[in-house]
Amino acid sequence: MSQEEKIFERLIQSVIVGDSEEAKKAAQDAINAGIEPWKAITDGLAAGMKVVGDKYEHKEYFLPEVMVAADAMYTGLNLLLPLLKKEITGEREKVVIGVVEGDIHDIGKNIVKAMLTAAGYEVIDVGRDVPTPQFVETATGQKARVIAMSTMMTPTLLSMKDVEQELEKKGLKGEVRTIIGGGTVTDDWRAKIGSDAYGKDAVEAVDKVKILFEEIKVALELAKQKREG
């Protein structure tokens, strides 16, 4: 294995086993070896996180292992992210994520955040018990096109509906898309309140967000053609 390959292997493994120290060292070594930061992230840390996501789906890995792996990933990212050259990678697509108003359970949200980050999105975490208007304001302020909402309880499902209504009121429905998930959330609920997507777990969430951004791209293209044509 070449020197470079060894470093990638270490980046991947450090995330899989959740070794933050090793992740930091490997990230630093990657920088020193002149490896492109975005490559170190995509083929290293993020690749490791995807393996973790897989293992989580198969119930081989459980919550603590995922959290610890996420921690390792973030430790590495903290060194690499600031070095990303925007012109090469382009603006990263932005997602606002948070736990809705009235609920404070955020472990699930944190796992989705880690998986989305690994997938290359810029994730703006507004935390938990987030007042409904804040979701929309942050999305517009930060120019994020996707809002991801989570809840673990049943009464707070209504807060998701509130966010949809807020988007309607501000005429942003369609421009800003939503995805919902959590222990009590169902696809049925998504249909009822008019959310754009539902993710049954962190892994599916990433796939659905990808689709949302593609839909947004298409919608923007059509709008552009309409204006010009």
Partner: protein, 647 residues
């Protein structure tokens, strides 16, 4: 927590049976509800074998009745008009073409659901019910003594029993006071509640004075008919909480209120009262007491149960920071709530503490006398919500953990509530890996209930089939064919199909183990955070009380091995059963205890777990078996080492 349900399968319908919580898919339009019940080993009686002739398999259709079509000729022979209106059908005559939810009423069951009402008997400070009966003989009115009937009565009460003459006579009693006194020939018994005369009965009825104490559990109701003269329990009854179809647990019931507004509030209120009235009638029948000889009722239950029972709109309690609406005790005329008792009986709801820690917890603490102890005591009341208290006379901290219904069998592949045929005890030989189990009433196994779901992870851990992370160890598949890859991943066969009453092997899956990890971790975090905030460790705990009906049935060693509670020596663990029921009885028969409950509710400090900064870290640590930090479990570690599970 609601299950993330599959909503559709082509060509199939989903049939859900309450109160068991079992659900399965069947071919659309081809299977009768009775056949579906039998396929899952659900207790539904049938004498004629499904021909529609005995009428014994009546079930109530909670959802999906519209698609069932009109009643068949056979049904029309057995289902009454009232039953029809309420949605009752014969299970053997209906073949669902859409998914439905079916409730099996008590009378259609053969076995009985284990309802675990027994609780500690605690002597009260003094037998002093708020209801008192006094017999008096009044002198007749004469020209020289033309006092009003009212004064005559009050004076006699004072003369004979030294009762102050400022008693209030309830207006409904005053209305025919005159005829009552004269028909009784001036010899009457007054019934007083606090300082109000709520009835006047002819003759001497002082020996007939009863009260009814209730524990309103989220899942189970317990009722106790008490003789207020002796303070003793006369008869006991239990029921599943009829609110369950409106919401399996606390949050979904409050959501029901929110989604349906006042209509939802009324539905929930009426549902629980119907269960309570059934218990009242059953107890009265058994003890040969009339329902209007019940002059006071006392209730305990968590904060959500309080709201649903009293018919109070509780939307905001469901949202962080979960503030209760009413904290102090409530007194309300029982008839206003629809309770079957004396028309002017009082219903008392014991004070709550905070968040979802309600009157049932106050009752628990009263029963174990925590505020009187010099030493540190821990009390754990296990349920869908587990309440934990730590402390002594100087300070008591309390919290509530959403353990979820995993230990009720929800979200567990073959999980179910305790009933005839549930596997309630499991053991696995750590060497031969052979399985022994016991079922309720020794019937062929039908599923796994709570106590078995505590045994299972412990036994799997001890025999090396799962590791400390909770993960199935793949190599074990070579040692026993009970460990195998099923449709949902790794699983362990507890009972082979040929032994069971269902059409399948009864297994416990990797997914089930994960659910149980989450449930026990929630509880364990609750105790860890309390101890941290108190500045104590498990070594300081002199007694650990396990309360709650469920607690009575679990194996304390296995529960400790998986890390459900801190490692306290087993001799210090005391099972006290339904102490909420005990506390309710204590408040019913003693004014001093009732005042004490009031004091308790202000003295106990409620801790909001989710707001605690260490919650998340501790929760993740508690997910491991027995715990991430093995120093906390030296005894358990020693055993696991001996068995070769830890190096």
């Amino acid at each position: 927590m609601a299950t993330r349900e599959e909503l559709e399968r082509p060509g199939q319908v989903k049939i859900i049976f309450f109160p068991y919580g079992k659900r399965e898919w069947f071919a659309k339009g081809e299977v009768t509800v009775l056949e579906a019940a039998q396929a899952q080993g659900i207790d539904l009686s049938s004498l004629c074998g499904g021909k529609g002739t005995c009428g014994k398999c009546k079930v109530k259709i909670e959802k999906g009745i519209e698609a069932l079509g009109p009643l068949t000729l056979q049904e029309l022979k057995h289902v009454t008009e009232e039953e029809m209106k309420a949605g009752y059908r014969l299970a053997c005559e209906i073949k669902p073409t859409t998914s439905i939810v079916v409730y099996v009423p008590e009378r259609s069951r053969v076995g009985k659901q284990r309802l675990q009402t027994e609780g500690l008997e605690v002597p009260v400070k003094s037998l002093n019910p708020l209801v008192k009966k006094y017999f008096v003989e009044l002198p007749k009115p004469t020209l020289h003594d033309h006092r009003s009937d009212e004064d005559r009565l009050l004076d006699a009460l004072y003369k004979t029993h030294v009762i102050p003459t400022n008693q209030d006579i309830d207006f409904d009693v005053a209305i025919d006071l005159a005829s009552t006194l004269r028909n009784a020939n001036w010899k009457v018994t007054t019934v007083t509640w606090k300082d109000k005369i709520i009835d006047i009965e002819p003759g001497d009825t002082t020996n007939r004075c009863f009260g009814f104490a209730v524990d309103i559990g989220t899942t189970k109701l317990a009722g106790f008919l008490m003789d207020l003269n002796t303070g003793k329990v006369v008869s006991v009854a239990a029921r599943m909480n009829p609110q369950i179809p409106l919401g399996e647990e606390v949050m979904s019931r409050l959501t029901h209120q929110m989604m349906k507004g006042w209509e939802g509030v009324q539905e929930l209120q009426k549902a629980v009262v119907s269960g309570i009235n059934e218990m009242i009638e059953e107890c009265c029948q058994k003890a040969k007491v009339k329902t209007d000889e019940i002059y006071e009722l006392c209730f305990v239950g968590n904060t959500a149960m309080q709201l649903c029972f009293l018919g109070i709109y509780g939307r905001h309690v469901a949202f962080s920071p979960y503030p209760p609406v009413l904290r102090r005790g409530t007194d309300i005329r029982a008839s206003r709530l629809g309770l079957k008792s004396h028309p002017r009986a009082n219903a008392h709801y014991v004070p709550v503490i905070g968040g979802f820690v309600g009157a049932d917890s106050v009752a628990d603490l009263m029963a174990v006398r925590m505020l009187e102890s010099n030493e540190i005591i821990m009390d754990i009341d296990i349920g869908t919500n587990t309440e934990i208290a730590v402390g002594n006379k100087d300070l008591v901290l309390m919290d509530s953990c959403a353990s979820g219904p995993a230990f009720e069998g929800m979200q567990i592949k073959h999980g179910m509530r305790a009933a005839t045929g549930s596997i309630e005890r499991i053991s696995i030989d750590p060497e031969t890996l052979e399985v022994h189990y016991r079922t309720i009433e020794d019937k062929p196994p039908v599923g796994l209930c709570g106590s078995a779901l505590v045994d299972a992870p412990a036994e799997l851990l001890k025999s090396g089939i799962i590791d400390l992370n909770g993960r199935f160890v793949a190599e074990m598949a070579e040692k026993t064919n009970r460990v195998r890859k099923g449709p949902d991943g790794w699983e362990f066969v507890v009972a082979w199909q040929k032994e069971t009453a269902t059409d399948t092997d009864i297994v416990i899956t990797q997914g089930d183990v994960r659910e149980l990890q989450k449930a026990k971790a929630a509880m364990r975090t609750g105790s860890e955070i309390l101890m941290k905030r108190m500045g104590v460790t498990e070594k300081d705990i002199t007694k650990l009380y396990m309360a709650g009906a469920f607690g009575n049935y679990i194996d304390p060693e296995n529960a400790r091995t998986i890390g459900m509670y801190p490692e306290v020596p087993l001799e210090k663990v005391v099972f006290v059963g339904n102490t909420a029921g005990t506390g309710s009885r204590m408040c019913l028969i003693s004014k001093e205890e009732r005042d004490y409950a009031q004091e308790l509710s202000t003295k106990v400090k409620y801790l909001e777990l989710a707001a605690d900064p260490d919650f998340q870290t501790e929760y993740l640590n508690a997910l491991y078996f027995p715990h991430k930090n093995l120093d906390k479990y030296p005894d358990t570690v020693e055993l696991l080492r001996r068995l070769g599970r830890i190096k």
